[in-house]
């Protein structure tokens, strides 16, 4: 049994915590959100309504849980991890049941003020729960397949539920995020080889679980020109918008593809295209650079953290964030099938904004508590 003790045995003071927040990262997050609001303003033909104003308010509100999450003691998060996971899972199940009753795709719960989409929150609490699990297991335990079963179920159950909604994009993000956590937690590589084999065998079976529209998206991805007016329309129009943007873009408020509605979902899943049409290669690369800075920042925070829970949590959050970015951008550029995930901090949507900001709150929390040591049970070990 390793002894997890450290120099910092006591709770940090409020001001110390406030000082410990990486304000640079907060600035980057705000910058990205501002970019998003600007694009939403353009997407509405230069109007704050209906999207930009709402998104601004949402960002302002979401700052509160972000800073709150950053300031709460890390051991509280450790303790709450499984509970949060259980609650989120319950919400996903509830949505599935409601969706089953209401027919078709229902991915949210109507809370009046916001329509809560539990699957995006699920991403964050999954990272939280896995981080706790791997924190409490020793390397020897992790080497055994038996102790990998609980975390594997923790990933697979919500992924399966989300896939049934059906939300292929979020399911993929859940699976890849889970896999990434397994990887950084030190799970042996032969486990991944085994998974790869199992997935290879399951693909033909899984194909039957996909809905027709999901299948057609995959077909279309393989040959988008085959159906330029049907399923291939979205991706073709998206590529036209991107390509016609060129190096400098067509100028703010001047994207013909988005303004004349050739571009589908210009304010949600395809918002990157709207941005890159008007701001061109420069604008698109600029946003990617901004994202890279945030991801890099996250890596630094995670690597500098002295407790395993924090390291896993921080890196898990950042990786989850980056998967959203990569899947969304690759999708709008026609590199992968259209799976329908939002571009974090930019796409119009309440729950996604809230979940991403909450995630960044946890990342900031890891930074604030980087010197805190946690024992096997999540308690701060006494000095000595």
């Amino acid at each position: 049994m390793p002894r997890l003790t450290s120099g910092l045995g006591h709770e940090l003071g409020f001001l110390a915590k406030l000082r410990g927040i990486s304000w640079g990262l907060v600035l980057l997050v705000s910058l990205a959100a501002a970019c998003g609001i600007a694009v939403l303003y353009s997407a509405a033909d230069g109007e704050m309504q209906p999207w930009a104003a709402t998104q601004t308010v949402r960002f302002g509100i979401a700052l509160i849980p972000m800073i709150g999450a950053a300031l709460l003691g890390i051991r509280h998060w450790f303790r709450a991890a499984y509970w949060a996971y259980a609650i989120a899972l319950g919400l996903v199940v509830a949505v599935d049941l409601r969706g089953f009753v209401g027919m078709g795709a229902r991915r949210w719960i109507d809370l009046g003020l916001i329509q809560l989409q539990p699957s995006s929150l699920m991403n964050i609490v999954l990272v939280l729960a896995l981080a706790r699990y791997f924190h409490t297991r020793s390397d020897e335990e992790i080497a055994h397949m038996r102790s990998l079963m609980p975390p594997a179920l923790m990933v697979l159950i919500p992924a399966a539920l989300v896939l049934k909604q059906p939300d292929l994009g979020t399911a993929i993000v859940l699976l890849t995020t889970g896999a990434a956590l397994f990887f950084i937690a030190g799970v042996r590589l032969r486990f991944f080889a085994l998974i790869a084999l199992a997935v290879g065998a399951a693909v033909p079976a899984g194909w039957h679980l996909l809905r027709d529209y999901q299948k057609s998206r995959i077909y279309t991805f393989l040959d988008p020109e085959s159906d330029p007016l049907g399923a291939g329309y979205h991706i073709l129009q998206s590529k036209i918008a991107l390509g016609s943007g060129g190096f400098f873009g067509r100028g703010f408020l001047n994207g013909s593809q988005s303004h004349l509605s050739f571009l589908p979902e210009k304010q949600t899943d395809f918002i990157f295209t709207t941005l890159a049409e008007e701001f061109g290669f420069i604008g698109g690369i600029g946003l990617l650079a901004l994202y890279s800075l945030m991801i890099g920042y996250g890596f630094v925070i995670a690597l500098r953290c002295r407790n395993h829970f924090g390291r896993l949590l921080g890196l898990g959050i950042v990786t989850n964030f980056s998967f959203y970015v990569f899947i969304n951008t690759a999708m709008v550029m026609g590199l992968i099938p259209v799976v329908g995930v939002p571009l974090p901090l930019i796409s119009y949507g309440g729950t996604a904004m809230l979940a991403v900001m909450f995630g960044f709150g946890l990342l900031l929390n890891v930074g604030v508590h980087r010197e805190v040591r946690l024992d096997q049970y999540g308690a701060i070990p006494s000095v000595g």
Binding site: P2, R3, L4, S138, D139, A180, F183, I184, A185, G186, Q237, K239, I240, A241, L242, G243, S244, G245, G246, F247, S256, Q257, H259, L260, S261, F262, A276, G280, F281, G284, I285, L288, S292, I295, F299, A302, L303, H308, R311, L315, T319, S322, F326, T329, A330, M333, G334, L335
Partner: protein
Amino acid sequence: MRREALRQRLFTRRAAVLAGGQALLLAAISGRMYQLQITESERYAVLADENRISLRLLAPLRARILDRFGIALAENRQNYHLVVVPEQAGDIIATLDALGTLIEVGETDRRRVLREIRRKHSFVPVVVRANLSWDEMARVEVAIPELPGVSIDQGVTRHYPFGETAAHVVGYVAAVSEQELDGDPLLELPDFRIGKSGVEKSHDLELRGTAGTSQVEVNAVGRVVRELTRVAGKPGQDAVTSLDMVMQEFVTRRCSAEQSVACVLLDAVTGDVLALVSSPSFDPVPFSMGLTSAMWQELSNDPRKPLSNKAIAGAYPPGSTFKPVVAAAALTSGVLTPETSFTCPGYLKFGNVTFHCWRHGGHGTLRLRDAIKKSCDVFFYETARRVGIDRLAAMARRFGFGGLLGIDIPGERPGLIPSREWKLATGGSIWSQGETLIAGIGQGAVLATPLQLATMVARLVTGRAVSPRLVRAEGLMQRSVDLASRNFPSLDLHARTLGLVLDGMNAVVNEQGGTAYGARIQEAGFAMGGKSGTSQVRHISDYERVRGVRKARQIPWKQRDHALFVAFAPVGAPRYVCATVVEHGGSSGGGGSAVAAPICRDVLLEVQRRDPARRVPGDNGIALLDALRNRSAPPGG
């Protein structure tokens, strides 16, 4: 501690791998962006413009068809449709109810409107009622401020002010058929109309004009956002026909006295067709709007063939009206002089066949002049025998028979002048001389159209190869235009020959004993010359000949003889020529002179009084007609 250090080292290593993986993904994304936005940017910029820019055709206004004095025979009439734009109207049911109180909106209209609204984008105007009357439009116009989304749309339809009077000449327009697509994008416009017959068809390209274009920016659902450029089209060019509408109307009215008539009136000097009537006619308007199958059945089953232009497409045995050609051939070839005489006992035995003269008792001994005057068949049997089919056929062709005259509307038929080659090619047998004799009285295989008969007379009176035309290259009649300016080549016939034939034709009408003496014009200076003809439609059996069962009332209409007459006037200085064929109109005995000659007489008298070959627009009478037209035209027309 050591374990913790090991764990941290593993974590760091794996984090580095993860970071590397993410860097790779980032590089892939950036590379793809480079490819799309820089390498292939131009291609996509073009595609983006193709998306947003839509080229719309602006249909040019179809030009008018006019008569020689500028009276419109085909024009465009504005019509008014009541349209509603659903997205502006809001409550469409309430709007329809409100409209229902102003004008009649039937239940079927209502259902159609609601159906169209469901199918189309909400910004696309839907027609509630087409072709509003002036009165209905006024009522809606007043209420429009209270009816959002409701407006009155102007359209253009083809209008034929004279209806069936000139339908065969003017023709009609109708929707473009698959076979007519010739690459002109105009033809693909949904409401475009193309000429289907008459001048509308033969001069379709000139009348059509060229399309203008409008480049508009459209959004993804096709709504026009703004117009980028506009290139005006060129309207079509008016077609001025040679018709004199007053004469056309006169001839039409005159022909309506008989069941089925074709009549052609020419200016012999210019070849201008002053009137071309095929009676009965048809109303061209339903053809433009879309004909019901019942109407079509009725028109196409009518034995009098109202859809066929019999004046150019009806081929009839010319009968005795062909005799002037035979006479000209005989005089030219020298087998006959004006003094040559034959004896007509009422028949001619040729081999073991007997050829009868129309007059039972025969004409006795007579010369060419009297033979024409009395239309003696035996004289022309003998004359034709002497001339021979080769010279006869050649002369007939010189006069315009046996081939197309090239009149500038579609549907002309060539008729037929038989020859040895023709006989071999069709029947496979040798020409027999008996057939030459039959051809000598314009029967047998000889077929001619009324237009060819009129042209024959025009060539007789001018000695030139006059060819008829319906569309004037010079445009409207002008004082300065030399009216004899069309230089037709000479027929190379002796003036004496022509004079003898014309003198015979003068005698037909103006001398006692002539076959058409009863139809002579008695007004001084207006006298006409002519030649009658009665052509058999069926063979007359010996039994019938013996029993005299040849009275018209005793045989069915379809089997009765055709009555023909060709004429020119005034006899002294011929200017106008007229040919009339009354289908199955000939009773026995009188022949063409009884039924067809009076029509020619009335037409030629009227045309000489009016003298359209020497009038110009604005002359008295024409102005009157214009005023008449304008008053009868409805508002906006």
